[in-house]
């Protein structure tokens, strides 16, 4: 329950625009539209300039279209659709001005803002196979107004690849460290930098990697300080959190 909304409702009660009994049942019903299969917030962008996000998995092409149209109708100017398969993207493109990032599986409607964060977000991966998750993080961060530096295939099996990029890493405001298999990259980066490091384990690997569990546990147990972790393959979550940190009002 958002602070502003709640105050709004309470104000109406005081003004007698609404009775307490009705208020209870109507509390918070304003800010979203009920499509039956989904409930949309229509006020976020206006309030904070942040794009609306649609999580594409488990939604049909028709449901996604329906949600997008309702958002556009309410004046939303930037929409981010994650986990959007190529075919669904192709279908949506026929009727809506969608830009599609194939590797990231992200679709965008609207214009990506100029970077307006504090510093740069570094997105690093252990290997080539981690790139799709990394692109989900990177594109998410870009759409949310961040400058992103991509450092791909810098895993610890060839330490010099990582060390050659030391300047980029040390200058970062936030590092998103993405790795499958044993996930050691995150600990190593955590030991090199002093900014927040967000670990994203990926399901890359085989056998006892258990689809990302080995990397997840490795990152959770990192002995380096300043490291926290999001769900396996959750590039979006990492990009979103990095953006919040990169947009905080800081010390004077």
């Amino acid at each position: 329950m958002n602070k502003t909304e709640t105050l709004d409702i309470l104000q109406k009660i005081k003004n007698g625009d609404i009775s307490p009994e009705d208020a209870l049942s109507k509390l918070c019903t304003q800010p979203f539209e009920d499509l039956g299969y989904a409930k949309l917030d229509h006020h976020r962008e206006l309030r904070k300039g942040i794009p609306e996000v649609i999580y594409g998995t488990g939604k049909s092409q028709e449901q996604i279209k329906g949600i997008v149209k309702a958002m556009l109708a309410k004046g939303q100017s930037l929409i981010l659709i994650t986990r959007l398969p190529l075919e669904t993207a192709e279908a949506i493109k026929k009727t809506l001005p969608l830009y599609y990032y194939e590797t990231a599986q992200i679709g965008i409607i609207g214009e990506i803002p100029k970077p307006n964060g504090i510093g740069k977000i570094v997105v690093a991966t252990g290997g080539t196979s981690d790139i799709p998750v990394a692109e989900e993080a990177a594109v998410t961060a870009e759409v949310l107004g961040n400058e992103v530096v991509r450092l791909y295939d810098v895993g610890v099996a060839g330490m010099h690849r990582l060390l050659s990029k030391l300047n980029d890493i040390i200058d970062a405001q936030v590092v998103i460290s993405i790795a499958g298999m044993e996930g050691a990259l995150t600990s190593v980066i955590g030991g090199l930098v002093e900014c927040p490091v967000i670990g994203v384990p990926t399901s890359v690997g085989y056998g006892s990697s258990f689809k990302g569990v080995a990397a997840l546990l490795s990152m959770l147990n990192s002995c380096a300080s300043g490291v926290s972790v999001v769900n396996i393959d959750n590039g979006f979550g990492a990009g979103y959190l990095a953006s919040i940190i990169n947009h905080q009002k800081g010390v004077k």
Copy 2:
């Protein structure tokens, strides 16, 4: 071994209609018909007005048809088939009067009874992707004679969506709370209501959701009282249990 049946057998022995030795081997053989691949109870509907249920998974189209026909032949007037794939439903429709709920993957033969329970059953989901499991629960409850209120996409990431439906939730006789990912919805509902809450974890999610395990553990460990849990994706079980609770003879 049902009480009535056992008494029946015992009565026959007393009357000399059957010898004790024969009784042992024949004990309970009356109430079901053996199709070879399945053993059917033919007496339940007559006795209690409850539909017969066929669990569709792992049964061939021919086996399902065979079971349905044997049931109809015995006078069963309402049959509920769960986990019924679209193709099997289409095939059965050609020879039998089946009504098919596609989202719920449930097929019905016969007429759904008027709601005759104590109150309403609320079926709530955390997200859009949980709807198929929710529909399995809701349709099951409806076929068993309950009024169902559907509250979909009210997960805790947007608390106001749930709070806006507070009246429905508080008025429920039973709440079925269905959620994947972290399953927090169930704890939150459990903390708001005073009626029984049945948690249904779903396999919706990715990575460390482990196909419903995260939600399952979350619900089992709910610190709210009045919560119990059924198997992952077990919409039918939740709907069935909710119906039993909603049909109990209560205090005067």
Copy 3:
């Protein structure tokens, strides 16, 4: 957020007793007292005749005493303390009128009400070692105003022990089925009765019982309808839920 409380707050705003801005920060602050280490609800008993419950684990003797005294000071007449070790109970007894159920590890302050539920709650266990969990469930149910029938050591290894109690089981309003090891008792009872069955896996067993996991999985996968499950060893949760079901207003 309880319905009545919320209405109360809203009413005050309307009457001008409180400004919307203040209301937000004070919303819900009335109904509980902040002891620093715990926040107490002081209004539940008055409203619903239900005892206040203190979960004893992880609380020091001093903390428990402090909570009890604050409750008594507010007029609470019945207090239930679960997971209360013998030594703590002995210490509390010195200054407070505590009655202690040693096997159940439950302490009671106040008078247990007369049974006022719809029917009887059966508490069944697979073996002798499950009795502590069973007593936690049984005493909880009794304190909440239920008549309890105890059927202990009726596990499926000796089927006749269970069948000899068939009448008790069939007459139950709710059955709490408590078992460790393989937990088959719950499925068997679920196949015999038509009322709700609450499965409580216990940590009794060794080796691959994995401290209750085998029983938990067994119960979650029960092929019998009407079964739901609570956490391993959660006798209190089962007793509480059974009491809610046994006190529902029923069909006319």
Copy 4:
């Protein structure tokens, strides 16, 4: 290293037919033929009248044919091929006299012997979906010379179905109890009979059945005596073990 074979080798050394140095490198090389991808025993049938078994999984159609032909060439008169897919069976049938049990996924070359065991082997399943595993067990036992009684769909959710077959179960020399989901059937049968019970968990189920793990744990923790367990879905292993037990030389 079989006793008879070892004595044979040793005898040859003593007779000077072979030097000790050579014996070491040749020890045991006689009894099998090396096809490169597999090493065949060619002496078992002659010695004990037991069919040779080919485990079909992971072997190509050509490999299976090669093994069968080498066996036939050596005079093997009965061959059992497990986990044989329909297509491979069809292909083999073109050149070899194979009889195929489709549900059991077993192919047989040669004539099934008359039952020559001590008593009967009962193969019981909890549900209809467990039948393929049950047929693997039953056909295996039949090919090895046993009379088999099939009791399918007698799970504990409808106890009377099992009790109606009590005579069959009590008369068994060995019971193979096959169940998925919660696997309670095995404990219940273990509590009813006094002969060895072999539990076979199946991967039937969903959600927290974890592809047979719930049933496996349930059976391993059975509180009934006389129960042991084989791997999930291992119908062959159960049928083979049951046959050994049913062919033991017994007390006079």
Copy 5:
């Protein structure tokens, strides 16, 4: 429900000694005595010459004494108490003629019968640390009337230790193979013999042995035929099952 008992009850009904209604509630109540905390069968020894077994874990010293006295009062002449700690044994010895096997943690009251099985039971262990479980199995088998051959510390790390005992192993009627750590002993024995092999994983080991899980999985996946498995550390279960197999009426 035992066949003989059931026939007995049914006979009484026929004779009019009992009404069907009463029969239902009294069905099977005769054969056991209810001590409150336990329900005792008093008829087994008379019927089959088999000792009564008390599972000591989770029972207080007083409960065990109570059960033993009730059994002796009914004429039971041989009682086996498993998982009996030394201190409890010492206390019981003061008033009852108990013989205590310290390594096996088994107490016996009465006289161990002469071996009357078909052949010998071999109890083999991988290491020295597995001996307590092995002794539980061996003593159980001896009390049940079997000749037992103990082969301890014959693990596969020193293959010649096992091979030196080949004659004993090949002559066995049943082999109980007990091992912790990787449990390979069971597969190796399974590959050497043609009799039933009962695997008992033990909780011996450290790290990734996971208290017996590594050995359990190893045994369940044994590629040798004729192997089945009981719970981790379940020496009693293995001894009991081996005895059943060793006492079967065999082929003429």
Copy 6:
């Protein structure tokens, strides 16, 4: 390898103060002192005003004293010792000016700085038992120069307790959300605020909480954006990360 240090070494090589061959073996040897059992950094405080941290677990009292003395000798003015047991703290106090936080199990040598972060860090817990972990986080943050707001026992089972503190939560620069059992608190807070939320699962709970795993999975799968997670019970890690975020140079 810190940027400044590396540049330093490289500069020396260029100046001819050190040969390349020697440089390699001496690279980075300056900044720490080798105590044999530990390698100390002696330059951090001087460079950045950050206290040195000693992780107390697995270190003997003598080792901790040795490390502290070496640090003080080098001029370190603020030392934080985590996971310090009471007894060790008492012993250290005898010779060193240690201040000990018993609940947090943290020892401090030196003076805690004035808060100099951007905003406030909120530390919230689900229950009373989570307080030790919360205090570890809170004291860590305070020692690192942050203002901390403690909100304890605000779990979702009583939603109004959390909502009553809404203002504190919404005003936070970072929220550390600490919960055991099902960990739903973190998702709910994540759905209410727009700042970074650091989830700390605790090992509080029993049965299927699996010592924090249920809470960990719940938090990793949170459907709320802006949430990341640290290891179970890792209060220090959360406090440290929160401090980094709260001290970032922000947008102008």
Copy 7:
């Protein structure tokens, strides 16, 4: 960071060819080429005569081609591509001189060197289904300059098959022991030889083999000395490690 490379960089700094500031950002940038999706080392073969390895999984056909071409352009004369699917191999063959090992799923460009190791590497498998992993190990070892002896289908279910190859095993410099299911082969070999044994668990098996976990645990817990383990199905890793051991400079 390789010793030689580091010295090289340091030398350049000393010679004034590069400033320290530039050196830091350029440190290690020479030895690899950045293709965007991958970073290639171009100096290894020249230095050590070792082939460059491309891990094929998760790389597109175009990416693999790009990497190969860049390597050839730099003068790399031997390239090993692992986990290369047949179709990708066929496509690459059209433009590049690739030799493809279908069973091993390995592609080679260049000429395989003559064996130049200390002794022979034995690659042994438990069954026929383990052969693909074994071939990955064997071909890897051959490409790296080793003589390989293949012993396939020598699992412990038929001990004489293994014993017949005793001479080969005892003569090995290293044994790679590859097995699925229960993985007992590795312990047995470990008990027979005195050279290093590398265990490779395979995902062969079903049910509780859990795709290689049973074999992995079995091997990790091997009671035989000299055994170590690599990841499930990691034939390449085993072949590579065996080659290192087989090429060590040994005692004089």
Copy 8:
């Protein structure tokens, strides 16, 4: 079965010193002495100059003494006892010339040989808490005739600590890399060296380290080549394997 021994037995048969029938039952009985609870090899030291190893866990003080005395009586001059608790060591010291390494929990009887391996074995640990496991590895290697270099507390959280020891690591013949928590040290070392790296996960850590499982998985999934892994905390196994590798006859 050792090659030399087998040849010996076979030779005796050929010479007529033993009949084949007797040979089978006596095969391999010579080389060990049966103490009842353990079977001792008495020929290893004489043949290969390797100390006899006693695994202390799970053996009583009396058993260890008995084994040591039997070994000394047979002329064994060097005995290594692992996992030997301080108290047992103190007791043994009273009658036997034992030298005890307290941190390593290893007892030695006899004189440690001069290092006679190819090169040096580096034993590296991530932290201070890993030292006991490291000492078990280091002392084992020393007793087996190796020069050991200890690098403790060089974990990746402070990369410069590891890099400062680069020369030692690069010069190693074998590296034993020991780490708990996330175990990243092993991957990093594997990426720096070209010799075999043996990873030893330790049970150091808390929460989701799961007593070494996180480190174990991390090491198994290492993307660096040349890495293999032993059981959690298995310092002995690592030291033993490293010694074998360090004593191999090498290329000319």
